[in-house]
Amino acid sequence: MKTKTSLMIIIGIFLIGSMSLTAQTEISATEIMQKVSDRPDGDEMEGTLTMTLINSRGGERVREIRQYIKDFGTVEKKIMFFLKPADIKNTSFMNWSYDDANKNDDQWIYLPALKKVKRISSDSSGDYFMGSDFTYDDLGDRKVGDDTHTLLRTETIEGLECYVVESVTKDEDYMYSKTITWVVKDRWYGLKKEFYDEDEDFLKSLTLLNVEQINGFWIITGTEMKNEQKDHMTRMEFNGVKVDAGISDSKFSERMMKRGL
């Protein structure tokens, strides 16, 4: 896939950036983030996503989604079928994301109670997804050029050598003033990421829990986002992942949104 717009590949969460080379390194921060963005992960992917929302008292709520993603060249299409909780079962959501940086995503939602597919505004990147600690933007495809990237240092975490990259937004209205990402050298996925709010206070941290090689691609199948300010956490697991196993083009249609799984 050219882009990494997916809940499954939370790669988008870990990336972003551009910046200058330091004297001690052979690669710039921008190049690091571009490599993360360009990391191959197949043209098609499907699986079941489970999000466990955990509040400050340890109370848990569970959301489960079946999702399919396919790269059609200049557009990546994604369709999600909500399985849990019961009150949103049979709801579906479809997103078309374009390589053209000037073109907004197209999004539709099917609500079984209304029995119709509604186009919804894609201008909601700062909203939290299904009450989790992930915003739509965290799960999406932030362009490398949207931030200024600086390589801070290298660190070794759990035996893996990482580049530590600071990414400062170029957009003053963006919800994060900066992020810091730990990118695993040569594998080009994020191991950890910190988010700072508009006041530059530490907001939340994303930690990689599990990564698997599936069909020759590194696929992140477990992450945890902890919002330090709200003392709330979301654990995300991606199960039954299939890469390039064959998804029909017609899967990404209004017909399938209504029909469901």
Binding site: L53, N55, R61, V62, V75, K84, P85, A86, D87, K89, N90, W96, Y98, K103, N104, D106, Q107, W108, P112, A113, L114, K115, K116, V117, K118, R119, I120, S121, S122, D123, S124, G126, D127, Y128, M130, G131, S132, D133, K230, H232, S250, S253, E254, R255, R259
Partner: protein
């Protein structure tokens, strides 16, 4: 519970027992149980509703066939039970075509809470417009065929039996009866109802047909539709007998005969995202609508005007809507207009009728708490319905909702006022819902 209801209830229970005892084989059950209590904000603070609901969806899918049955039960405080099937259909899927046969809700159009091209599923107005959306729309027995060409397609719906709007009983707080003011002081017209023409016999000739071509694309979503239908709302044919009493005072007697008439319509709807704003539109041209009109009667030298006539006119019904966000707050507004073509001054309804809707919605506490305000405002009559709600998720599937329905009076508040007529029905309510 009346005898027919008892029989239906027993049949439903038997059906449930059979279904529950079937081997699993992918059979899926979902639905909800709900307790709903409403209290009027009048001096007596009467309960407007004390209702318990059980709604069950039974679904199965095997390869290219699927079925769904959706029985429901409403239980009221006086032990009345209302039992029914909202949907019961079979799906057959082909490569580029789907067939759905049976009782089904078919919803068209892009409007929210307004019915312009969305005219297939009749409305259940037993609680005015206050029920949840899926409960307002009734299922109809129909055959629906969809043929797909990429992201567009044609939909054909054939309904062999006409189903009218379900109106509230006259004794209900949501009942609405025509009122006739006599121009002669102290004289009230006598009203006699004749329901002999109300039912539309089930026959091939009386069936309804709908067709739609629709599609989604990056630029625009669109629907073009047409229908040869019966008007879901009956026209009131009124026969006036103008006798004179011994003092020479006219004593009008009105015989009211509700009757459904044929309508044909063409229309369409669009929806597109422009710089983060979703712009929606919907329009329809209706041909052959019967509008209530005034008639003048002469008794000797005395003239008397009564709203007893019917004028057949075409009309346009259209809407523009805008959905957008301000931060995490979702907003939506719609402007709706109805325009009667070749207008005659005797028609009681205004030539132009304007209405607007407003929606504000925001979620808090990781979506545990939702605040919402929805309002209809009749611009022409200046009456309104305002519906604030607060919803809190107690746990996954458990929800508590507190809300109010506030009816604002307008210029006129008689039976013709859509919202102001219910000015005495302001209410607070509480719903507890468990979804499974």
């Amino acid at each position: 519970m009346s005898t027919p209801h008892k029989k239906t209830g027993i049949l439903l229970l038997l059906l449930l027992l059979v279904v529950v005892n079937l081997p699993a084989q992918g059979l899926q059950f979902s639905g909800y149980a709900r307790s709903y209590t409403g209290i009027l904000l009048n001096d007596a603070n009467e309960f407007s509703i004390l209702q318990n609901t059980f709604n069950l969806n039974i679904e199965d899918s095997r390869g290219d066939v699927a079925f769904k049955v959706n029985p429901y039960i409403y239980h009221y405080s006086n032990e009345d039970l209302i039992i029914g099937l909202r949907e019961a259909y079979l799906d057959i899927f082909f490569d580029n075509m789907d067939l759905r046969l049976g009782k089904q809700q078919v919803i068209w159009g892009k409007a929210d809470g307004v019915f312009i091209t969305d005219i297939i599923a009749p409305k259940d107005l037993s609680e005015f417009l206050l029920r949840d959306f899926e409960e307002i729309r009734m299922g109809i027995t129909a055959i629906k065929a969809n043929y797909y060409i990429g992201n567009s397609g044609i939909e054909l719906v054939w309904a062999p039996v006409f189903t009218p709007t379900q109106l509230a009983e006259e004794t209900s707080i949501w009942g609405r009866s025509p009122e006739f003011e006599s121009p002669i002081s102290g004289v009230s017209p006598t009203l006699i109802y004749d329901y002999s023409q109300k039912a539309v016999p089930a026959s091939l000739e009386n069936s309804e047909t709908f067709v739609k071509f629709s599609g989604v694309s990056s630029f625009i979503d669109y629907e073009f539709m047409g229908g040869y239908i019966y008007d879901d709302d009956p026209s009131m044919h009124i026969k006036v007998d103008m006798s004179v009493d011994s003092n020479g005072v006219p004593q009008p007697q009105l015989t009211l005969t509700p009757q459904h008439h044929r309508l044909s319509l063409v229309g369409g709807s669009t929806s597109m995202d422009i710089m983060g704003y979703v712009v929606r539109s919907e329009f329809a041209y209706y041909s052959g609508k019967m509008f209530q009109a005034n008639e003048t009667f002469h008794v000797g030298a005395m003239g008397m005007t009564l709203p007893s006539g019917l004028e057949e006119k075409d009309y346009l019904h259209y809407l523009v809507g805008l959905d957008f966000s301000l931060g995490s707050t979702k907003l939506s507004t719609q402007f709706i207009q109805q325009y009667i073509l070749d207008y005659d001054e005797s028609i009681i309804q205004e030539e132009y009728s304007d209405m607007a809707t407003f929606l504000v919605n925001r979620m808090f506490m990781n979506d545990l708490l939702t605040l919402q305000l929805f309002a209809y405002y009749d611009i022409t009559n200046e009456d309104a319905l305002v519906r604030p709600t607060v919803t809190y998720d107690l746990a996954d599937g458990f929800e508590i909702l507190a809300g109010a329905n506030m009816f604002m009076p307008g210029v006129n508040n008689d039976y013709r006022a859509y919202f102001g007529y219910f000015d005495d029905n302001d209410m607070l309510y509480l719903k507890l819902k468990y979804s499974f």
